[in-house]
């Protein structure tokens, strides 16, 4: 993992980012078509209303988490505590509401405040205490887990039916929760494209040092990203409460932390930060949702599902990485700034040095070009 990640120059990045996002949406179309064919061979229809609804409602939960995760990853950070934040949020929501419809707004505010506070902790630990985000958020997650395990032995609280509508009602074939998720996504895209802090996130992720030297308060940007990420996870927790009708601590076992990161990377955002976007992330989430629905319709063994999902994620990212290297390589060769340019998705630098031309496999680049 080279450190010389580019400052995704805000002017150029726009065009490049669009290309990457398009690629992911293309992949989504491809996955959908292949899935539809497989389902059709089984004598069913992937695009039937029930199945479409299934895809969309699957995507809403992961979507919330992944949108937040995108912001954090763009800043070259990471949030492994989202699963625990979701569990805690669902419990806070359910216990605060306690079956009383009048307390719904209070519960929502409480969830957002607590989630935001957790995000603030994450952000401050990462930016002020300089703890690696992997460890910082893992540690905060453990702390929340300790609280949850001590405080709640099982499901707690009760969600009034008016709020459960958030989980179940739909407008046409589109579940309400998916609409809200898409609204949040649009807000996120506008945030990244139109606001100063949004632009700064790309800069901080590209190179924190350069960003700092150009007068960006990198710490604040990082903290903002973490707060927004946790709030997004809090929204996911609210949705869980609405769907389950109660708060559940065991949500953190469902692996939403790693899955959201997978969705973000699948969506074309670099884990090294500085490049990507929410548009791609939504496509990544939808790809995972389509896969899950297809597996479900075809009644694939749940364990085999894991195998397939792992393989597909790696394969997709491999194809994607290949595209990126091609573009990058030509830029280095013709742009004339091989040293400084945006040259570092993981491992793009030339592995083959002048000295080992005799090498039968000239390192990674041989395959890449």
């Amino acid at each position: 993992m080279s450190r010389a990640v580019a400052v995704a120059g805000t002017g150029k990045a726009d065009r490049r980012r669009l290309g990457a996002t398009e690629l992911v949406w293309l992949a989504l179309v491809g996955v959908t078509i292949i899935g539809a064919i497989l389902v059709a061979l089984d004598g069913q229809n992937l695009f039937s209303i029930a199945n479409t609804r299934d895809v969309l409602s699957r995507s809403s939960l992961l979507g919330f988490v992944a949108i937040g995760q995108t912001l954090v990853i763009l800043c070259r950070s990471l949030d492994l505590s989202v699963g625990y934040v979701m569990a805690l949020s669902s419990l806070i929501a359910a216990t605060t509401m306690n079956g009383d419809p009048a307390r719904v707004p209070l519960a929502i505010v409480a969830v957002l405040v607590v989630a935001g506070a957790i995000g603030l902790c994450n952000g401050l630990i990462v930016s002020v205490l300089k703890v690696n985000p992997f460890i910082a958020t893992l540690g905060v997650g453990l702390i929340i887990k300790g609280y949850l395990d001590t405080q709640y032995q099982g499901p707690a609280g009760e969600v009034p039916s008016s709020f459960q509508q958030f989980g179940f009602s739909r407008i046409g074939p589109v579940p309400l929760s998916t609409l809200v998720m898409l609204l949040v996504a649009v807000a996120g895209i506008l945030f990244l494209r139109k606001t100063r802090t949004g632009y700064h996130m790309f800069a901080v992720g590209g190179s924190a040092d350069v960003a700092r030297l150009s007068g960006i308060r990198t710490g604040r940007v990082l903290v903002t990203a973490h707060v927004l990420c946790s709030i997004a996870a809090g929204l996911a927790g609210l949705l869980i409460a609405a769907r389950f009708g109660t708060g559940s601590a065991l949500v953190y076992n469902s692996g939403y932390d790693l899955e959201s990161i997978a969705a973000v990377v699948l969506g074309g955002t670099l884990l090294m930060g500085g490049r990507g976007g929410i548009g791609g992330t939504i496509a990544g989430v939808l790809i995972l949702a389509v896969l899950d629905t297809v597996f479900n319709i075809l009644a694939v063994d749940p364990f085999f599902k894991d195998v397939l999902r792992g393989t597909i994620i790696v394969a997709a990212v491999a194809i994607y990485a290949r595209r990126q290297i091609d573009r990058k390589a030509s830029r280095i060769r013709f742009g004339g700034d091989g040293g400084s340019g945006g040259s570092a998705p993981p491992g793009s630098p030339p592995d083959s040095a002048p000295g080992d031309t005799g090498d039968p496999v000239p390192a990674g680049q041989g395959g890449a070009r």
């Binding site: 993992m1 080279s2 450190r3 010389a4 070259r76 950070s77 630990i125 990462v126 205490l129 300089k130 703890v131 690696n132 992997f134 460890i135 910082a136 893992l138 540690g139 997650g141 453990l142 702390i143 887990k145 300790g146 395990d149 001590t150 924190a208 790693l258 990161i261 997978a262 990377v265 670099l270 884990l271 090294m272 063994d301 364990f303 085999f304 894991d306 195998v307 999902r309 792992g310 393989t311 994620i313 790696v314 990212v317 491999a318 990485a321 290949r322 998705p345 993981p346 491992g347 793009s348 630098p349 030339p350 592995d351 083959s352 040095a353 002048p354 090498d359 390192a363 990674g364 395959g367």
Partner: protein
């Protein structure tokens, strides 16, 4: 860069006396990024001894080391990958997979022990090769590669056994994990400890060899390493193979010690990574000492023992663990930021990550 991280506060000294070598070692143990972990280790052990003085007796120490050995071996493996600038999230699943494979194939028959262990080693090497080659040649970020491998192993093993592990381990297979040589003072010198010591010696030797230097250089700046003739893909792939092989070794010890369950190895990747970072090894590569990584694992295990000794409710343990980890890493980060003034500024500042 390689040299400066290895011997902080030492200029080039071609021929060093034994005395300055010892001084070097001391500087390494209590200086740089790894000081925190050794200090924490001493504090935790002191706390354990105060709570339960009988823990200081050799037999219980040996029992503790026997139990801690697998995680320490895992952490050493993880160190190689992390110091080269990558992650290996698949080790937890790999440990689980290997234990289940061993139980299913041995099925209680002594004669199959050695062939199955060889097969497991082969499988470990294969997993490491796949991880490494996908990461280096296909340019997939190792976080994703090994996450995918984790899912694949998790699913494939359960698919194969139908959800629950089948078969049984042989007595010979369980020896390394639970057996030992009977001695007077310590009652039992565990095989696990001797294997651990062997692994540590080899690991230290490897890190001092040209491969180790290359590995750190690669993790620090793969471009520079590439330009100076390092075949980055080969170096990193080998690191993944080492990690998987050591995970296999850890699986043999864990299987022997704890037996076969479906949950073996779950979450161990995070514990191992935490241990390595606790040891002052920089995530992102290029900095850290393998012995400190191992000490990080030992500290975590000691912490668990301390929780037991204090009979702390099991539900609150993760929270305490989280606080201690964050505090220790934050403290180490503070420590590392300070001595930069009297070291070479340029070489350190570029590896400073946000």
């Amino acid at each position: 860069m390689t040299v400066t991280t290895q011997q902080p506060a030492q200029g080039p000294a071609p021929q060093r006396s034994a005395g300055s070598r010892a001084g070097d070692l001391l500087a390494r143990v209590f200086g740089g990024g790894s000081g925190t972990v050794f200090a924490l280790l001493i504090v935790v052990f002191a706390a354990i001894f105060i709570v339960n003085p009988s823990f200081a007796e050799p037999p219980s120490l040996m029992a503790f080391l026997k139990q801690a050995a697998p995680l320490m071996i895992l952490a050493i493996g993880q160190y190689f990958v992390i110091v080269s600038g990558e992650f290996d999230l698949s080790v937890g699943s790999l440990v689980g997979a290997q234990v289940v494979i061993a139980a299913a194939l041995i099925d209680g028959e002594e004669g199959r022990t050695v062939p199955v262990i060889l097969l497991m080693l082969g499988f470990g090497i294969l997993v490491g090769l796949i991880n490494g080659l996908i990461t280096t040649l296909l340019k997939v970020q190792s976080f994703i590669t090994t996450l995918g491998m984790m899912l694949v192993l998790y699913g494939a093993i359960r698919l194969w056994t139908g959800g629950a592990p089948t078969g049984a381990l042989s007595e010979a297979f369980r020896q390394p994990g639970r057996g030992g040589i009977d001695l007077a003072v310590v009652r039992q010198l565990p095989w696990a400890l001797m294997i651990l010591i062997g692994v540590v010696i080899i690991a230290v030797a490897v890190m001092r060899s040209s491969y180790g230097r290359t590995l750190i250089a690669t993790g620090d700046n793969e471009r520079a390493a590439g330009f100076s003739g390092v075949r980055v893909w080969r170096v990193r792939t080998l690191a993944f193979v080492i990690s998987s092989v050591l995970a296999t070794l850890a699986a043999i010890l864990i299987g022997g010690y704890a037996g076969v369950t479906a949950q073996v190895g779950q979450g161990m990747e995070f514990t191992a990574i935490t241990a390595v970072v606790l040891g002052g090894v920089a995530l992102g590569g290029g900095r850290g000492w393998v012995v400190a990584a191992m000490a990080g694992a030992l500290t975590l295990e000691a912490l668990f023992v301390l929780f037991n000794q204090l009979s702390m409710p099991s539900t609150i343990r993760p929270a305490v663990q989280g606080v201690i980890i964050i505090a220790a890493v934050a403290y180490a980060a503070r420590e590392r930021a300070r001595p930069r003034h009297h070291q070479e500024v340029p070489s350190q500042s570029q590896s400073n990550e946000a």
